[in-house]
Amino acid sequence: MLSIHDLVKVYSGPVAALQGVRLEIPPGMFGLLGPNGAGKSTLMRILAGLLEPTSGSAQLDGQEFTSDPRRVWSRLGYLPQDFGFYPNLTGEQMLEHLLALKGVESPLGTRKLVRELLERVNLAAAGKRKVKTYSGGMRQRLGIAQAIAGEPRLLIVDEPTAGLDPEERLRFYHLLAELAEGRIVLLSTHIVEDVSVLCPRFAILAQGRVVAETTPVEARALIEGAIFEGSVAKGALGELRERCHVTQSMLVEGRLRVRIWRQDGLVPPGFEPARATLEDAYLVLTHRDRVTHEGLLAGATR
């Protein structure tokens, strides 16, 4: 269990990046959704022991580690949002080095293990190339390989699918799903689909606060029956936003299709009830200042 207690992080400025985050994360996949600047990466970096919090603490299986991050490093797999490698090492050398630093061992031997891990991320063919010749996607896969190496009790992946093509994204989903068995995998993302596919539970972070902690099913259920979809003229969208909570608007075959959240069912003409998606729920929950239904929040947050 990963327990996060009242984590606060204030940067000079002052900017409050985290304002008392509390979470209890059980083994398995756990998603962390939030818009840009919500504090996700700050939280990830604190949990990875790379950033000292202003106050609060976190425990992994009952052991507090924010005061001494060495307690978590030995049980951590971490894939940050932005990273690079030594450009003059080959992929194999780089991974071998990181495995050595992490103390990862296998009966297969380090060399074989490295090749197998690269195989898992579809990078075996480029293993002997210098990292400086890798594309962004290849570097991302090498990052994934090092993160999943070993038996990390806690795996933190920050925006892991950025830069991956659909095929690689799918492959990564499978890897994460396998890893989530028996360990805590914290997936930070703003891509709702990632959470929808992988996470039985997730939290939404906005402006440094947890605004919701729920499951995809619960989240969808919360807004089920209150989502409506219809077409509007482009010029009418602004007016509609003033009257309704627009969750999504998209162009479909040249027409502007708009989804709105309206609990009272009083919708503009032409709008039909639609099946609620997790994205709808995320967007509704993220903008809670616009939410007037207190019961919704009460049900969604603990």
């Binding site: 490093w73 003059n88 630093l101 103390g103 579809n122 190496a149 492959r171 396998e178």
Partner: protein
């Protein structure tokens, strides 16, 4: 280019540069330097040092140009390289480049804007520098500084800045920018100023061998980016006097002006190249970027379905690795990265080149080249290696620590369980291995040096001792310190600035003489090597020093591990940690790491302070001076007429015990009520007797006052007995280095000049005098030398000596006189030396030697130092023979020369017992052309006559009879034994040394020379020797030698001791033309004159009548003095490198004022047929010129002035013309 965008980039860069710590550290350092310069400690070495004498203003254009040229290379270059070279790299690391270049901003606007921003920053810095200098010089002018601070003139600051500093800065900025933009390698950017610094210090500013042709010299002047070589060689090397420097604007010649403009243009062109390069890069035309895309496209497709198989199949597990395993892993990866650092391949050859070249250009006494041994190479390379490896480790350590940040690996890397200590140690280990590889390469290079030298074998132990035990701790400590700086500052630029600041501060402390063993972390100047014994002097302090800095290294690393920015600290938490209680607790927890260095530091400081160069001795010396100067300076004292000394030596512990008795005679002509005796500060258990009875003298701070019961009558004698013991020298040195006299296991050197092993009768003027209480030299009456003149060396009458020395049997024990007994009992050797002819002073020297004997001569030397012994022995034999013929028959039985450890680089000619440091003669690199060992032996041997048989008087013109005449004797003996070619070369070397070392404003006529002024030394030795040589040519060789013989005969027994004014009348008696002689003496001894000849309008034309050639020229004497001088037109090589060419013709000087009469001397005896010459003689006064026609029966190739080096002159190299 759109101006608005260009200005925006420039403004942004300027704001960035002026806000970073690097800029502010530069300003602070500049401020400190400006203050330092304003104290007048760094001045052009010209002017008169006497109170009220003319000084060169530190505000003169020349002084400021000098200061700026040095400062720009030593200081600005590093800061500018970082600022300009890192701009593009920084944007790339911040991933800003692509964003910027996706805007309408053009590469030109970007590059020129950035450069403009950096240039504006350093223009501001330069402006601040000048303003600070002006402020400290003029606004804070004190009465003390008034004599060297001139009136304020803005042009004094601006003109040197524009001509000297600005072009260098533009060049450096442009070149650094280009290097960074082109390579994107920070190390290469940092390498540039390092290379520049080394090239300047060790080559462009210092390399000036006597054979260097003026055209090459001119080229190097223009190539020197600092402009210092031009400044030195054009304006400063030959002193033009304070008046000139203080009033004249900095003279810029056309060639130099063009070179400065070209340098600035080169800097701007570099920016143009950088701009084009960036433009090509952005268009994708640059190969590196294209290849990475290509590599991706060509990525082979997997042969089987990837990603199949579960992770569980891999059966992975994790465990935290141990410290050592972590260190090894980090080091392994670092080394892989280091292999790809191009800077490494630049630094390594550079370091090797420096190490070798410095070893090759080392010179000893009289600028003689030195022979290298393993030990001298190891110690000789120490300073260079320390500096260069220190800089290399600085750059590599910082870049290594910064690497994860710069590469974006930081988050992954530092979230692994690897220990922080393993990371720091691993990186340090990898970088240290680079250092070790460089040391190994330097060792091989030293082996090659020894191999090429072909005389000395290679030994490993000195390198292990010096580089292993002394240098490596420095590198470890420096590396740890840099790591700590990085950990604290968390910024590469702050680290560079602070580390460079520490290096500069260390250098400044060393240069100012403030350094001691406690602070000397890099051992600069602290190690003195002797093949005869390793670091016997101050060994304890050296060990403590190394332990101190190793313990500091441990403390630095321990602290660095604690504060290393592996995790970004929270500001609020940091404030909490800095609260007094928390801070105290942290300090307490860290105290185990502080206790050891603190304890070692205190122990070392105490050792230094108690040592013979420390505070305790300093206070004793000052007390001696303060207590006695007024009463006892120049007080009458008796002379020693007999000395009986029984000396016991225990070299292993530096101990000596002396029991002895002086027979004193009152030679003052008046009854002597009391007299002073100086004892050594290291004396313990001192007992005195006076007239055979126990006596307790009055102790006046080390000066013992003896008052006999009845005043000692004139001519009366008295026995003064003494017994003392002590360790000499006592305690540690202050900052390493050597000492002149000592009792050490490797050798013993003791003299009666100071109270080293016997007390000195009288008050010693030099004790307790330093810069604080140094006074102007005494002004003497014009006729002061009339009557009896006291001895210049202390004792007025010759004395007999009987010196008995006891020491372990393996030592040979030498002293003055003849060995009358040498026995060994129970492992103790006892040697008795008795004077077979009276001496004026005595010494004792002991060592574990081998001896080689000649004709009434002997050389005692360290086994293994036989390289030059044959040459020295031949010289000693020749000296004894010829000097006896020329000057006076040698009165003693044997002339011997003994070697002592090179803790001091001097030689002393005590009667019968000359002592040479190993670095003089024994380790002189003597080749057939230079005969350096011969030269120093000839000089020191000559002191048996000029200094011992004839003891000069005290006062102006005294020492010149010792040192100048010894140089004169060397010229004669060189000509006699080595031939005309070497004699001419020797005279030219003396002349050049005089030209370089003289100070116009301070220089006194030789009859007034007392050795107290800057520049006096070259007048004493080189000018003194050359003028005596000119005198010989003036009066004729036989007349001069007869005069010298008569002079010595008259004065050898005293009591009147002669000075120069006594010498010239004696020679006059033998001069064939006394009017001409008087004119010669008047101008050369009673005035300061030196001719300087210039050849002008030189043409040659065939003469149809006889098939010969006429050379027409105008000879101008731009110097002073009137001398006949020969002008020679010639072709071919006069002294080609042939074994039998050393004996050549010598043309007697002509004193006739011939204009066109020429002597044609092709095919003269000993001159190769290919060489032909024709000469004319001209006599020119100061400022005079004369047309000269030289008729040649051959086609001349060159014209030279004074080809036989018969006339002392300035800048002889310029008096040469090649057709």
């Amino acid at each position: 280019m759109k101006i608005a965008r260009f200005l925006e980039i420039a403004r942004t860069e300027f704001r960035f540069q002026t806000r970073r710590p690097l800029f502010w550290v530069l300003l602070v350092v500049l401020g400190l330097m400006a203050w330092g310069f304003s104290t007048g400690n760094l001045r052009i070495s010209a002017g008169d040092s006497d109170v009220g004498g003319k000084r060169v203003f530190i505000t003169s254009q020349y002084a400021l140009a000098f200061g700026l040229s040095v400062t720009v290379v030593l200081l600005y270059s590093f800061f500018l390289a970082v600022a300009a070279g890192m701009t593009v790299i920084r944007d790339e690391e911040l991933k800003l480049g692509e964003v910027l270049h996706s805007t309408p901003l053009t590469p030109g606007e970007y590059v020129w804007g950035k450069f403009a921003g950096v240039s504006a920053t350093f223009t501001l810095a330069l402006g601040a520098d000048l303003a600070l200098r002006a402020f400290f010089n003029h606004a804070l002018k004190t009465p003390a500084s008034a004599e060297f601070v001139g009136p304020f003139s803005i042009w004094s600051y601006v003109r040197p800045a524009l001509w000297i500093a600005v072009p260098t800065l533009l060049f450096l900025g442009g070149a650094s920018f280009l290097l960074g933009a082109w390579t994107r390698k920070p190390i290469l950017v940092f390498a540039l100023p390092t290379i520049l610094l080394l090239a300047c210090i060790f080559f462009l500013w210092s390399w000036n061998p006597s054979w260097l042709s003026p055209s090459v010299d001119n080229l190097l002047m223009l190539l020197d980016p600092a402009g210092l070589r031009w400044l030195e060689h054009t304006w400063l090397q030959v002193d033009r006097g304070a008046e000139f420097y203080n009033t004249q604007p900095l003279g810029i010649d056309a060639a130099f002006a063009a070179s400065r403009l070209a340098l600035a243009g080169l800097g701007l062109a570099s920016i143009g190249v950088a701009s084009r390069r960036l433009a090509r890069e952005l268009r994708g035309a640059v190969r590196v970027r294209a290849s990475s895309r290509k590599a991706e496209l060509e990525l082979p497709r997997p042969t089987r379905a990837p990603g199949t198989g579960s992770l569980a199949e891999l059966r992975m597990s994790s465990r935290t690795r141990g410290l050592l395993a972590g260190v090894a892993e980090v080091a392994r990866a670092e080394l892989r990265e280091l292999r790809h650092q191009p800077g490494l391949y630049l630094f390594v050859p550079l370091i090797l080149l420096q190490t070798i070249s410095i070893s090759l250009v080392r010179v000893g006494a009289f600028d003689t080249p030195l022979l290298s041994t393993s030990g001298t190479l190891a110690v000789g390379g120490m300073n260079t290696l320390t500096l260069l490896l220190g800089l290399l480790l600085l750059f590599y350590t910082v870049e290594s620590l910064e690497r994860e940040n710069a590469r974006g690996l930081f988050s992954i890397y530092y979230a692994t369980p690897v220990r922080t200590a393993a990371v720091l140690f691993g990186k340090a280990l990898a970088n240290s291995l680079v250092g070790v590889v460089i040391l190994a390469a330097a060792w091989i290079a030293c082996g090659i040096v020894l191999l090429v030298q072909g005389k000395v074998g290679m030994q490993l132990s000195p390198f292990l001792l010096v580089w292993g035990l002394c240098l490596l701790p420095t590198l470890v400590a420096w590396n740890s310190f840099v790591t700590l700086l990085y950990a604290l500052g968390r910024n590469r630029y702050t680290t560079y600035a602070l580390a460079l600041g520490v290096l500069i501060f260390t250098g400044w402390m060393q240069a100012r003489g403030h350094m001691n063993w406690v602070g000397n972390w890099n051992l600069w100047g602290a190690l003195v090597w002797s093949d005869m014994g390793s670091f016997e002097l101050g060994r304890g302090a050296l060990v403590l020093n190394r332990l101190l800095y190793l313990s500091i290294a441990v403390a630095c690393i321990a602290l660095a591990v604690r504060v290393f920015p592996r995790r970004s600290f929270d500001a609020a938490q940091t404030l909490r940690r800095l609260q007094p209680r928390a801070l105290a607790l942290s300090t307490l927890r860290f105290s185990p790491f502080l206790i050891v260095p603190l304890g070692l530091g205190i122990a070392l400081y105490s050792a230094v302070d108690d040592g013979f160069q420390g505070g305790r001795y300093e206070k004793l010396a000052k007390d001696y001076w303060r207590k006695n100067i007024a009463t006892w300076k120049d007080a009458p004292k008796p002379a020693i007429v007999a000395a009986v000394v029984d000396l016991t030596l225990e070299p292993e512990r530096g101990f000596l015990h002396t029991r002895g008795e002086y027979t004193l005679m009152n030679d003052t002509g008046r009854p002597l009520e009391s007299f002073p005796v100086t004892k050594g500060a290291h004396y313990r258990n001192v007992h005195w007797t006076l007239g055979g009875a126990e006596y307790t003298p009055e102790d006046r701070a080390g000066l013992e006052i003896f008052t006999p019961e009845a005043p000692l009558a004139p001519g009366g004698t008295l026995q003064l007995g003494f017994e003392l013991e002590g360790v000499f020298p006592e305690g540690s040195t202050k900052n390493g280095g050597g000492t002149e006299n000592f009792v050490l296991p490797s050798g013993v050197v003791l003299t009666s000049f100071g109270p080293e092993f016997v007390p000195v009768v009288g008050y010693l003027d030099s004790v307790g005098v330093d810069a604080d209480n140094k006074s102007d030299p005494k002004v003497w009456r014009r006729d002061w030398y009339e009557g009896v003149t006291k001895s210049g060396f202390g004792n007025n009458l010759p004395q007999t000596t009987k010196i008995t020395i006891h020491a372990p049997e393996e030592y040979t024990l030498n002293s003055v006189g003849t060995l009358t007994s040498d026995t060994v009992e129970q492992g103790i050797r006892t040697s008795v030396w008795e004077s077979d002819h009276p001496v004026n002073f005595f010494n004792v020297v002991a060592g574990k030697w081998t001896v080689k004997r000649g004709k009434g001569t002997a050389i005692y030397y360290h086994p293994g130092h036989e390289y030059n012994v044959d040459e020295m022995l031949a010289c000693l034999d020749g000296a004894r023979l010829h000097y006896s013929e020329w000057f006076y028959p040698y009165p003693w039985n044997e002339l011997k020369l003994s070697e002592f450890p090179g803790l001091a680089g001097y030689a002393q000619g005590f009667p019968t017992n000359i002592t040479f440091s190993e670095s003089i003669g024994f380790l002189t690199n003597s080749d057939p052309k230079a005969s350096a060992a011969f030269m120093v032996t000839a000089h020191e041997s000559a002191h048996q006559w000029w200094g011992n048989i004839l003891e000069p008087g005290e006062g102006p013109g005294g020492d010149i009879l010792s040192e100048g005449m010894a140089h004169f004797s060397t010229i004669l003996l060189t000509g006699e034994m080595r031939g005309e070619r070497e004699r001419i070369e020797l005279c030219k070397r003396f002349e050049e040394k005089y030209g370089d070392g003289r100070q116009v404003d301070s220089e006194k006529p030789m009859v007034e020379l007392d050795g107290s002024r800057p520049g006096d030394r070259v007048v004493l030795y080189e000018k003194g020797g050359m003028v005596a040589w000119m005198m010989l040519n003036q009066v004729g060789r036989a007349n001069m030698l007869r005069g010298c013989q008569e002079f010595i005969r008259r004065f050898e027994k005293g009591p009147d001791h002669p000075v120069l004014q006594d010498f010239t009348p004696v020679i006059r008696e033998y001069a064939p033309d006394q009017r001409a002689y008087d004119a010669f003496v008047e101008q050369w001894y009673h005035h300061v004159v030196v001719p300087e000849y210039k050849l002008e309008d030189v043409t040659r034309a065939p003469v149809s009548a006889d098939g010969g050639w006429d050379v027409e020229l105008t000879l101008r004497n731009t110097g002073t003095g009137t001398m006949p001088v020969e002008v020679c037109a010639f072709r071919g090589e006069r002294f080609p490198d042939e074994p039998d060419s050393s004996k050549s013709r010598s043309t007697a000087p002509s004193d006739s004022n011939v204009v066109a009469a020429a002597e044609e001397s092709a095919g003269a005896k000993g001159v190769p047929a290919a060489y032909r010459e024709s000469r004319a003689s001209v006599t020119l006064g100061a400022g005079e010129s004369q047309k000269v026609v030289i008729h040649c029966e051959f086609e001349p190739q060159q014209v030279s002035v004074d080809p036989d080096a018969l006339v002392l002159q300035l800048r002889r190299k310029l008096a040469l013309f090649k057709f």
